[in-house]
Amino acid sequence: MKFVKNQPSDDTLDLVCRMCPLHLLEPGEKIKCLKKGQVLEVLTDYDGALEDIPAWCEKCGQEFIGMEEDEDCYKLYIRKTN
């Protein structure tokens, strides 16, 4: 797992309290609205996202930048590359 600190982002998707498979479906939809090179911040409290989101990024050709642990959730950062 790659860790980051104070990673800037262009948009945020709050998925706290929501579980599988929303942690994959919603970023997929949201990233369509971003421009190439922009960064999406995903907030989640679902542990499964820590494995699933980097794997999903690899599969979809997006760049997984890293994650930061916050007080009540994880923050995961994805850069749109295609």
């Binding site: 709050d14 998925l15 706290v16 309290c17 929501r18 579980m19 498979p21 929303l22 479906l25 919603e26 007080e71 009540d72």
Partner: protein, 390 residues
């Protein structure tokens, strides 16, 4: 026998266009909206159209609506969903003392889970005092819930004034609008609320469907975990026919509210004046002006509300004694206790909820039969005989 139904807060007839809209979704268009093939995706699209119709009725966006099985579920989802999602921030909830049981009991459930709950008192009309709310908010308060209008006494609460206090204090505000949506204008932006519950029951939609409005970016723990339904906020295959019914009823309600309100208010005023003229020792409960247009509630001295209800039933008149839960449990209504009605007078509670399907002739029929029923019951009452002798 003549049938006069004036208990529309409990249930309304499902409107003909609503039934017609629903029917194809039982057998012809029965696909699962989550299925990816067109028999599913087309249903999903229809469901999203209904979401937009419900949203339009209350000034919301479609994506801010979660379909539920009832107003009670919407209330549960609001109270429990916000409390569970926000428990790291605080463990204090405030609800008014006259809320529906689905709010009161959800709050009491959290008392068992180390939350603190303040049951906010109301005045003699059932109104929550904004100053009192301000005084009850603590740093650890995460949620306030005050109903838009009370189903037993009809009083409409000053929601925008209460909501603005919560906004300033950073506290989430929920209102139970089951009694108001379809009866008076309801706009989530004017009310300034974070969450709002509604039900099909008061809209001429079928029973078994409701909705919760939630503002953007609000965290809500689901009560029913499942799949992707309702964007992961409420699991379970959706009740498509009922949702279509709710959508159609919302669409119809939006266009006819002003006329409906005026009509119901006129009938209500006729009923209230007639009852007050014909029956003595009677108290009109709730606020005289700030109340639902079709709502008339009384406490009649030396009468047992349940007995009166059965006598009226024999005449084909269907009304209520207040909260169905309290009356079935033979308990004094907590709403009447909260507004300071003495226990003996509270026993004589009777509630009329008028709809635009009622007529002047029906009001006249009630005014003819009600005084007779009251007189008959009072003639059997030792309390009444003692009073008369004194």
């Amino acid at each position: 026998m003549k049938r006069v139904y004036m208990d529309h807060a409990s249930a309304t007839p499902v409107r003909k266009p609503v039934v017609e809209a629903m029917l194809p979704y039982f057998d012809q268009h029965f696909g699962n909206p989550s299925a990816v093939y067109d028999m599913g995706s087309k249903i999903k699209q229809v469901m999203e159209e209904q979401r937009a119709k419900v949203a339009r009725l209350i000034g919301a966006k479609a994506e801010q609506i979660i379909f539920t099985s009832s107003g009670a579920e919407a209330n549960n989802l609001a109270i429990k969903g916000v409390s569970l999602a926000g428990q790291k921030k605080g463990n204090h909830i405030i609800v008014s003392a006259i809320e529906h049981h689905s709010v009161l009991n959800s709050a009491r459930f959290f008392e068992r889970m180390n939350f603190e709950v303040t049951f906010l008192p109301v005045d003699e009309y059932g109104l929550v005092d904004p100053e009192r709310l301000l005084g009850a908010i603590r740093p650890e308060t995460i949620l306030v819930s005050v109903m838009h209008a009370n189903n037993e006494i009809g009083t409409i609460e000053p929601i925008p004034e209460l909501a603005v206090i919560c906004k300033e204090k950073g506290v989430i505000f929920h209102t139970d609008a089951v009694a108001t949506v379809g009866n008076i204008p309801v706009d989530v932006n004017e009310l300034n609320v974070d969450l709002l519950s509604l039900s099909g029951v008061s809209l001429g939609a079928p029973k078994g469907v409701g909705a919760l409005y939630f503002r953007d970016k609000l965290r809500l723990m689901p009560l029913i975990h499942g799949g992707i339904q309702e964007s992961g906020r409420r699991g379970g295959t959706e009740n498509v026919p009922a949702i279509v019914g709710l959508g159609k009823a919302s669409e119809l309600a939006a266009g006819e509210l002003t006329d409906k309100m005026n009509y119901m208010q006129n009938l209500r005023n006729l009923l209230v004046a007639g009852i007050q003229e014909r029956i003595d020792q009677i108290k009109y409960t709730g606020h005289p002006e700030k109340r639902l247009p079709g709502h008339a509630s009384f406490c009649i001295g030396a009468i047992e509300g349940e007995a009166l209800l059965f006598m009226l039933n024999q005449q084909g008149i269907y009304v209520n004694t207040g909260s169905a839960c309290a009356s079935k449990a033979l308990k004094t209504s907590p709403v009447l206790v909260a507004i300071g009605i003495p226990a003996d007078l509270a026993q004589g509670s009777i509630v009329f909820t008028i709809h635009n399907s009622n007529t002047v002739e029906e009001i006249e029929y009630v005014l003819e039969k009600l005084p007779f029923a009251v007189g008959k019951l009072r003639s059997l009452s030792p309390i009444w005989r003692e009073k008369a002798a004194a």
